[in-house]
């Protein structure tokens, strides 16, 4: 019984982790079609923002939920204005440009902080389940992910900005003809994507720690998840996180962590062979 409870909890934690690291990418790549190779570095910057500010005396929760998204969101706006906005609609070019940005960010952060900024220990303690124990902070992240995706759904569905953003991404020319300023909508959407990524980076930093090169550990998984998810950003990212996260966890439990990683990648390849448009290309088509 304990075993089943702990596996289910672990499953929720792994899924939430995947959903968290790909949330920002779902907006920037899933919605805006910008192949953001600097996504991992945005996560890294969020982690640094949280750690540096909390060390400077800012309350840890404030550092994670306010400082990190604000800082990375601001960096997002600057990069969008300087580089990305010239490249909308040219996916391969965005890939090259953001790859360059990613290398530059790694270099810059290394120069500023060096290779050794230690992290912060996870707050909250642990929860015992029979002979097992799981970090309460990890379970807290599950709640945050539910809130984040719920909030994202509300913004896209219920606010006028959500409607404008979706409309602009679908048909920029038509949106412009109807009096929307597409440049501004793009800019704000990119900034929100960056801010969400910064928040995610800050939230995972207590459990993974931060070094300038940490982005590489996330980038592939984030892309695999968003691509497997397909066109609907929220339903897609959630469905893909659930599927791939479950496969990874169950294989890790049953066999080994190596097979867990292999199974995740194999499942993604198989999935995209069967459903080239991703999960939401065939199922949940009309969802967000």
């Amino acid at each position: 019984m304990d075993h089943i409870v702990i596996i289910l909890l672990q499953l929720a934690v792994t899924i939430a982790n995947l959903a968290l690291i790909c949330a920002g990418l779902a907006i920037i790549f899933g919605m805006m079609r910008v192949i953001n190779f600097a996504h991992g570095e945005f996560l890294m910057l969020g982690g640094y923002a949280a750690i540096v500010s909390s060390r400077a005396g800012v309350n840890l929760w404030l550092a994670m939920f306010v400082v990190a998204p604000t800082v990375v969101g601001a960096i997002g706006i600057v990069l969008e204005r300087l580089v990305i906005r010239h490249l909308y609609g040219r996916m391969i070019d965005t890939m090259l440009a953001t790859w360059g940005i990613s290398l530059a960010l790694i270099g810059l952060v290394t120069v500023i902080f060096g290779n050794t900024v230690s992290g912060i220990s996870p707050p909250l303690g642990s929860l015992a389940v029979g002979q097992y124990a799981i970090g309460l902070y990890e379970l807290f992240l599950v709640a945050v992910v539910i809130g984040l995706y719920g909030g994202g759904w509300l913004v896209l569905r219920r606010t006028s900005f959500g409607l404008l953003a979706r409309g602009t991404m679908q048909n920029r020319v038509m949106a412009a003809a109807l009096g929307v300023d597409p440049g501004r909508v793009y800019s704000i959407t990119f900034a929100i994507g960056a801010a969400v990524t910064g928040l995610a980076g800050a939230l995972i930093s207590p459990i993974t720690g931060v070094v300038p090169t940490i982005g590489a550990a996330y980038i592939a998984k984030a892309f695999i998840t968003v691509i497997s998810g397909g066109t609907a950003i929220i339903a897609g990212a959630l469905a893909a996180s659930t599927l791939l996260g479950s496969i990874n966890t169950l294989f890790s439990f049953a066999f080994s962590p190596v097979l867990g990683e292999v199974a995740l990648l194999a499942a993604a390849v198989l999935l995209l062979r069967l459903l080239p448009q991703g999960i939401t290309g065939r199922f949940f088509r009309r969802s967000l």
Binding site: Q10, G119, P122, Q131, G135, P206, T208, G209, G260
Partner: protein, 412 residues
């Protein structure tokens, strides 16, 4: 009287400007001994390279201050391969052919060593590699200064079992040759000492989610965790372990904790009490090491990069080479190698290191230490451990033309 008009004078001046420096440089080069250092000073693994570069410079400066080798000063050129394997090959070629270095000190990851080794062998340039590694390199042109798994683990495994009073070990290892081979040695020495490795989990280097494994460990209830985890992503394990409330329940030992400055990256709450084993710690309490530390921090400042086994062994390597060249009366590769093969030894910060002629590895002192608040407290030392793992395959005295890295198949 020779008439020199303005044009001739200008030609003469131009010729001097062009050829003069070259002439002067050649004259100067005849007096100094060119040597090369090839370590990453930038890029992802500069954290390993920087203290090694410092120690190389310190050793060279000290030797020069004492009059150089054979009355000639050492002329050190540092190359920075920027954590890029291709540049390693390029710089090894440059050091051997253009700079005509008498000896090359360098290489960090096994991949970088294997990138340079054939190049330096082809260009007949002597090579010293100073980091701990998985063992097995058998090549007469290279001297491997770092410790190999057999040297540390033979004493470390029983020590850990006794220290933590347990027999059931759970091993976590990075999924590449160092982790795979080290995990086998742990199993061998645990079994030989009446213990048992209940499970071994391997992790690709980019895995940062250790949740499922921590649950598996909780179910397996081992007495001791052996960590052979490597790199930034694997640091997550130590945090997640604490977050799950496991830190005080199952003690941990490691053969890799600290090589990537994990003791700085994690908090005292996360690392206090972890036991590690290397051939060098800055906490070694010998007069040689204390004097060395004083010189190191005086030269590079209080904030200089912390010293690792690789850094201390680089210092040993330069001194051993200088000693051998003095003994041979020449910096010629063959003569220096022959001098080193007489079983030359050097006593320095890491204690006494003696070259083993058959393997070109060294017999060295091994230390076991506990991590506490980012520092190492030495608990135990073992004098003069031979490179037994490599010696099982490699005999350069009998087969001087051997030239490969053996994959050591550990018999359990």
């Amino acid at each position: 009287m020779v008439e020199i008009d303005r044009r001739t004078l200008m030609k003469l001046g131009a010729a001097t400007a062009i050829f003069g420096p070259a002439y002067i440089r050649n004259a100067y080069a005849a007096e100094t001994i060119p040597i090369a250092g090839i370590h990453d000073a930038s890029g992802g693994i500069d954290i390993y390279g920087r203290p090694m570069i410092n120690c190389l410079a310190l050793a060279v400066e000290e030797i020069n201050a004492a009059g150089g080798v054979l009355g000639r000063k050492l002329d050190l050129v540092n190359y920075d391969p920027q954590s890029n394997m291709q540049l390693y090959t390029q710089y090894a070629t440059e050091a051997a052919t253009k700079q005509k270095a008498a000896v090359v000190f360098g290489g960090i990851l096994s991949a970088s060593r294997e990138a340079m080794r054939p190049t330096l062998k082809r260009f007949r340039t002597l090579y010293f590699y100073s980091l701990l590694y998985e063992g097995g390199v058998c090549d007469r042109n290279i001297f491997c200064m770092g410790s190999t798994p057999a040297q540390t683990l033979e004493k470390f495994t029983p020590f850990v079992m006794k220290h933590f009073n347990g027999k059931k070990i759970y091993t976590l290892a990075a999924d590449y040759n160092y982790g795979q081979i080290t995990a086998k040695w742990i199993k061998k020495f645990a079994t030989e000492n009446g213990g048992d490795v209940v499970a071994t989990d391997f992790f690709p280097l980019d895995v940062s989610d250790f949740g499922p494994t921590i649950r598996k460990i909780q179910a397996a209830k081992p007495d001791i965790i052996m960590s052979v985890l490597v790199g930034a992503a694997h640091n997550s394990f130590y945090r997640q372990w604490v977050a799950a409330g496991m830190k005080d329940k199952i003690p941990m030992a490691s053969t890799t904790f600290g090589i990537g400055n994990e003791q700085v990256l994690t908090s005292p709450q996360e690392h206090n009490g972890i036991i590690v084993s290397y051939a060098y710690f800055d906490g070694i309490d010998t007069p040689e090491n204390k004097a060395f530390l004083a010189r190191y921090y005086k030269r590079f400042g209080e904030k200089a990069d912390g010293l690792t086994e690789g850094a201390a062994m680089t210092y040993h390597a330069v001194n051993l080479w200088a000693k051998a060249a003095t003994m041979a009366g020449s910096v010629d590769r063959e003569k220096v190698t022959a001098a080193l093969e007489t079983g030359l030894s050097f006593t320095g910060p890491a204690g006494k290191t003696t070259i083993d002629a058959a393997t070109h590895h060294d017999t060295l002192d091994v230390y076991i230490a506990e991590v506490r608040d980012g520092k190492y407290k030495v608990l135990q030392s073992y004098a003069q451990q031979p490179p037994a793992d490599t010696a099982a395959f490699c005999n350069l005295k009998a087969h001087p033309n051997d030239n490969k890295q053996y994959v050591i198949d550990v018999k359990i």
